[in-house]
């Protein structure tokens, strides 16, 4: 029984890690830039497609496709931010939502046109598939790998936002754009880079997620609720909050499905309601 419980816990953490990887980008754009970007899932899907194309058509090894996915989606993010998104920074949230959902529909149609409507097959390298015995517990190698990536990404992000000059510029630009610009911070550049970072992380998450979540053009809509849930529960803009929320939701989702399969899919929604009643601004949300 203890073994089962630890197994469920491990799977939950791994699943939560994946939710975190994809959700963190959304948290960054929503929390730091105050932009409701529902097209976030489309960036994740694009990262996935970049991985698949690089792997299946160009023979690039799986691990090497991940940085490519990050860079490609980050670039896409910059281009779209400069040409489209930046026009809506001052718009109402409704306009932002309408714009980004429209963009998502276009992305879905575009992906269907290029890659077709079906599921994209990927085959992971042998060393990442199967299970290993870790302290008496059989755990999936790929899930272990996901958790490892999340540890690295989280550490890097916290360092970037809290300790570097760029992080300070981001925080300053968010709090007061005019004052920051007056102090010589190039706010446009900071926002473009932040947006690129968020998109790139989504792309990375999309690439890592193919094996667990699958990949077809409906991906942005299928998982939108999960990403929004993570950000809403965690508190937009908070790295720590997003991580905790993703892990909690991941663990409860897996545990719900394992122990009570009939209502399993509903558990995370119930949890969301409860958490938001007690923490209306999210677990680590800004009180303002």
């Amino acid at each position: 029984v203890i073994g089962n419980f630890l197994g469920v816990l491990f799977d939950g953490i791994a699943y939560g890690s994946l939710l975190f990887l994809i959700g963190i980008g959304l948290s960054v754009t929503m929390g730091l830039m105050n932009f409701v970007n529902l097209a976030h899932g489309a960036f994740a899907a694009m990262g996935g497609y970049v991985c698949v194309t690089a792997m299946n058509q160009m023979g690039v090894p799986f691990l090497a496709t991940l940085p490519i996915a990050f860079i490609a989606t980050a670039l896409m993010g910059v281009i779209l931010e400069r040409t489209l998104y930046q026009r809506l920074y001052k718009a109402t949230p409704l306009d932002q939502v309408l714009f980004s959902i429209g963009l998502t529909f276009m992305a879905v149609a575009g992906m269907t046109y290029v890659w077709g409507p079906t599921q994209q097959p990927v085959r992971l390298p042998e060393f990442l598939s199967g299970q290993v015995n870790l302290l008496g517990l059989d755990v999936g190698v790929y899930r272990l790998f996901l958790i490892g990536i999340v540890v690295v990404v989280t550490a890097a992000l916290i360092y970037l936002v809290d300790r570097t000059r760029f992080g300070a510029q981001v925080r300053a630009s968010v709090d007061n754009q005019q004052a920051s610009a007056g102090l010589g911070i190039n706010v446009n550049r900071v926002f473009a880079l932040t947006f690129a970072l968020g998109s790139g992380l989504a792309g990375l998450g999309g690439g890592l997620g193919i094996d667990v979540l699958g990949l077809d053009p409906s991906f942005p809509f299928k998982y939108m609720v999960y990403f929004l849930l993570v950000v809403a529960v965690g508190g937009a803009g908070s790295i720590k909050g997003t991580l905790v929320a993703a892990l909690v939701l991941g663990i409860f989702d897996v545990a719900g499905k394992y122990y009570a399969p009939q209502i399993g899919a509903f558990v995370i929604y119930a949890l969301m309601v409860v958490l938001l009643v007690f923490f209306p601004a999210g677990l680590y949300g800004k009180k303002a």
């Binding site: 799977d11 097959p121 085959r123 598939s129 999936g140 667990v212 979540l213 399969p261």
Partner: protein
């Protein structure tokens, strides 16, 4: 969008067949397979029957959409004045198109929808596809007779999944097996890990699975291997529509030995199937592999050709045409098929297949035949 087969001399009005299937959206692949099945039959048998040209008018249902099915069927019947409707879609739009067809007394051929008793609800409908019950019950019987005493089932929690769960249980328990637990997974289930882990910890002899084709099927099978259920001695049996090209591609040789049941396999070794595969390859330029959906569409066309021939091209009496369509039996690429005139539903052989290397690639190879399975 009419794929009109150009008529040179207009001796008689062409025979019009309205084909409803999803050409766009997440199920566009299904439409492609069904469309190619229809074209393959025309390619192999010519585009003229009893002196009349065959004209196929295609319409896009976009997916499981009852209101779209109804509207398109109305347009086809009223404006295009079609002689037949062929619906290669899901149950909801097949039913709504069926209401229209029956009111207009136009025969409707069901070439994909697989719920039980669908033709009861469509007085002018004839099924040339299959029912989930039909292909699942024999798999339960086979599993019971081949060393499984205690099994678990795992199905998607909606109509067809529950049909499958009951049919498997029926076949399995009536032959001495016990179902220890039935797991139902939410229709939108991104992650099968917890469900499969539950099965692994319960240690049954075997596991029966059916989830919708595509990402879910791929994920559930992948998770089965990833969690080492095969090594733990838990045998997987699964409906054949879940195990096809994408699964082979993603999992490779791992899936060898997997047992499935279905009413068609491309590896079926008959002259009829060879003819079908050849024609299908020609119309698609060998870009896609046919499946059971393509065969049902192909057979639907065969039935239409026969009905036209027997009436010398005179289709003025819809009820008479329906009568012919519901009394047919012939050799299809899948084997012999018989339509029961009482139910207008299909009786056919179901095959138990195993994934093996065949003609240099992975295929579902039939090794046991259960003849004349009722729907």
């Amino acid at each position: 969008m009419a794929l009109g087969l150009s008529a040179t001399s207009q001796a008689a009005e062409p025979i019009k067949i309205g084909l409803l299937t999803p050409y766009s959206g997440p199920f566009a692949d299904m439409g492609r397979l069904i469309d190619a099945g229809v074209k393959a039959y025309v390619k192999a048998n010519g585009d003229t029957v009893a002196g009349r040209k065959i004209e196929i008018i295609t319409r896009d249902t976009t997916g499981p959409a009852p209101e779209v099915g109804k509207r398109l069927a109305q347009e086809l019947v009223v404006r295009d004045n079609v002689d037949f409707l062929m619906v290669g879609g899901f149950t909801p739009e097949t039913l709504t198109a069926g209401t229209v067809a029956s009111a207009a007394k136009k025969p409707l051929l069901v070439v994909n929808a697989s719920s039980s008793n669908i033709t009861d609800k469509i007085p002018f409908g004839v099924r040339y596809a299959f029912s989930f019950r039909q292909i699942t019950q024999p798999l339960g019987v086979w599993a019971a007779k081949n060393g499984n005493k205690k099994m678990m089932t795992l199905v998607a929690d909606y109509g067809p999944g529950i049909d499958c769960e009951n049919a498997f249980k029926d076949g399995f328990t009536s032959n001495g097996g016990t179902i220890v637990e039935s797991v139902r997974t939410p229709l939108k289930s991104p992650e099968f890990g917890p469900f499969i882990q539950k099965v692994k910890d319960a240690k049954p002899d075997g596991l029966f699975v059916w989830v919708p084709q595509g990402d879910q099927a791929l994920n559930v099978v992948k998770t089965y291997y990833e969690r080492g259920l095969d090594k733990a001695g838990i045998k997987l049996v699964i409906l054949g529509d879940d195990i096809d090209e994408p699964v082979f591609h993603a999992l490779g040789d791992k899936v060898k030995g997997l047992v499935t049941s279905l009413h068609y396999s491309t590896a079926h070794a008959t002259a009829e199937n060879k003819k079908f595969l050849k024609a299908f390859g020609e119309v698609t330029g060998n870009a896609i592999q046919p499946n059971f959906m393509s065969v049902a569409a192909y057979d639907g066309m065969a039935a239409i050709y026969e009905a036209v021939k027997r009436q010398n091209g005179d289709l003025s009496d819809g009820a008479k045409t329906l009568d012919i369509l519901s009394n047919l039996q012939f050799e299809s690429p899948r084997g012999k098929i018989v339509i029961d005139p009482k139910t207008r539903d299909i009786t056919q052989a179901v095959y138990i297949r195993r994934v093996e290397t065949h003609n240099g690639k992975l295929e579902n190879v039939e090794f046991e035949t259960i003849p004349d399975v009722k729907p």
